[in-house]
């Protein structure tokens, strides 16, 4: 083979290799990013900018604090994920379980009344009255009652209004009602603390645990087994209610103030927890108050008069609070506390 022919073959071979290399590079080069990407930990995921933004806004992975000119706690947080937890608890647990609690308590009271009836006096009323509550004590009691039920009713409307009132008033009507209730609830809230302090100072001295209280509890206050159980001015049941009202009221007041005065620097988590606690304690105290109302009115004969006129029949005192009755009788010197007509015994006692 001549040199000229060999030279042409080498040239053709170079061209062929060049074309082949070009072809290989053309096919392989676009694959390099994929090859490199497979080494990345996030390889395989398709990023959606909107999804990532929403994830950051809701802070599912981590806290994201933005920048704002607003000067307040959590001002840089667009959406707090904890709010969803709180909302879920409120709608899925607090609302149905709270309604169930109140319904069960009312059902038990109704059942008890139908089966047992009101607790009658052990003996016929004597007609002689004995002072049980002074004017001041009754004023403090009814003042607390007024504030408590104003708050309870407005609070229950705020909690259950959307289920009960929207079908009746419509969405707009409920909106107005809810706004009115919220303003009234917030404005009256701090006054409940005033009532609570007055209630505590007025009645605490007679609501300390005393001998005989445990026995009273074990015998169910005579309501279950029948028969008389000895008690002082307040029996163990009344003392328990007093402390539920005081401690529960204190929790309600503190959590309520945290919720109303959001300018004090508390975080949303603290406010969420306060709301949860506020709702649970309120529903418990309201439920227990049903029992208190029953026993103070239809449940025990002759009891209501003690908080309206301030006087009870001696037979009532002996029947339900015999130790207190004995103390009063022992303390009286000129029978100024035992009178036939309530109005005559009020001189100098208000």
């Amino acid at each position: 083979m001549s040199d000229k022919k060999q030279s042409r073959i080498r040239r053709h071979r170079k061209v062929a290799y060049s074309l082949l290399s070009l072809l290989v590079l053309t096919l392989v080069l676009p694959l390099i990013p994929y090859a490199v990407a497979e080494k990345d930990e996030t390889a395989g995921k398709v990023f959606n900018p909107g999804t990532e933004l929403w994830r950051d806004v809701r802070q599912r992975d981590r806290d994201v604090i933005g920048t704002t000119q607003m000067k307040s706690v959590d001002a840089g947080v667009l959406i707090n994920e904890y709010g969803e937890t709180w909302r879920h608890f409120r709608m899925q647990q607090l609302v149905p379980y709270g309604a169930a609690l109140m319904g069960i308590v009312l059902s038990i009271i109704l059942l008890f009344y139908l089966l047992r009836g009101p607790l009658r006096l052990q003996e016929e009323p004597s007609g002689k009255k004995i002072e049980r509550f002074t004017v001041f004590e009754r004023t403090v009691h009814w003042f607390t009652v007024a504030i408590f039920w104003l708050l309870a009713l407005t609070g229950l409307i705020l909690l259950y209004g959307r289920f009960v009132l929207i079908p009746i008033l419509g969405a707009d009507g409920f909106g107005i009602t809810a706004s009115a209730c919220k303003e009234a609830h917030n404005l009256f809230g701090p006054t409940f603390l005033v009532a609570l302090v007055l209630l505590f100072l007025t009645f605490v001295k007679d609501n300390i645990y005393a001998r005989g209280d445990m026995l009273w509890l074990l015998k169910g206050g005579g309501m279950l087994g029948g028969g008389h159980v000895s008690a002082g001015r307040f029996n163990a049941g009344e003392k328990i209610w007093f402390w539920i009202a005081i401690i529960g009221g204190l929790v309600l007041s503190v959590t309520g103030l945290i919720l109303v005065f959001s300018i004090l620097g508390q975080s949303r988590e603290i406010m969420g927890l306060s709301h949860v606690l506020h709702g649970i304690v309120a529903l418990v105290v309201i439920s227990v108050s049903f029992g208190h109302i029953y026993l103070g009115t239809a449940g025990v004969e002759g009891t209501l008069g003690s908080m309206t006129t301030g006087y009870v029949d001696e037979a009532w005192a002996k029947s339900h609070h015999d130790r207190w009755y004995a103390e009063v009788k022992a303390a009286e010197d000129g029978s100024d506390k035992i009178v036939d007509e309530p109005g005559l015994a009020t001189e100098g006692k208000s």
């Binding site: 004023t139 909106g175 107005i176 706004s179 009115a180 303003e183 006054t191 208000s350």
Partner: protein
């Protein structure tokens, strides 16, 4: 419809009844006149009138323990209501819209505290009125209606605090109109008459040298 009535004709009627009623009550009392006092005056009546007006602001020392609740709750309610009526921003704006007159309002926090004091005072006073057999006996339906109506006016006022719903403002204004119509024919007139009443008693006794 109801809103137009409340903001229109109802308001006009209430304002006229209130104004004419109050003037009629005051004039009718002053025009009755007094019998001529033939006794020799020990002091001028003016001294007694001023003294009685001032001394009535303080409880008598021997009555302090018995009247503590009345005095504290009374001041809480009356001062609170006075401040709410004349220094709450929405009320000043309303007066300005009607008359063009305006004056500085109290801050929002003071408004809230004042409202709470007034509510506590009113509730305590009314409950005590009902609980105490003596005050219950000397109270008439008029006293209870006046107390309850005032409470409702204050309650609807606080419910409209957000100023977000027109219906709540209308409701508040309607209850105010009811109170204005009731006012001249009730013991609520003491708001206007307590100073001349004290002055009359003080002057009457003062002329006789008796400390009223």
């Amino acid at each position: 419809m109801f809103k137009h009535l409340v903001d229109g004709i109802f308001w006009d009627i209430a304002l006229w009844v209130f104004t004419i009623g109050v003037l009629w009550r005051i004039l009718s009392i002053f025009l009755v006149g007094n019998k001529k006092d033939l006794s020799v005056a020990r002091t001028t009546g003016m001294t007694g009138a001023i003294a009685a007006n001032i001394s009535r602001f303080f409880p008598r020392s021997e009555m302090q323990s018995r009247t503590r609740l009345h005095v504290i709750a009374g001041y809480m309610f009356h001062l609170g209501l006075f401040a709410l009526l004349f220094f709450a921003a929405p009320h000043i704006l309303f007066v300005e819209s009607q008359t063009g007159l305006s004056w500085p309002a109290m801050p929002y926090w003071a408004f809230i505290v004042t409202a709470q004091l007034a509510f506590v005072g009113l509730l305590l006073l009314w409950i005590h009125r009902v609980m105490d057999p003596v005050t219950r006996l000397i109270s008439s339906a008029d006293d209870h209606v006046g107390s309850i109506l005032t409470f409702i006016v204050m309650l609807t006022g606080c419910m409209a605090l957000l100023e977000g719903f027109e219906g709540l403002r209308v409701l508040h204004r309607f209850t105010v109109e009811l109170l204005m119509v009731y006012f001249p024919f009730s013991r609520l007139m003491h708001a206007f008459m307590f100073i001349p009443s004290r002055a009359f008693t003080g002057a009457w006794f003062g002329r006789r040298g008796v400390k009223a």
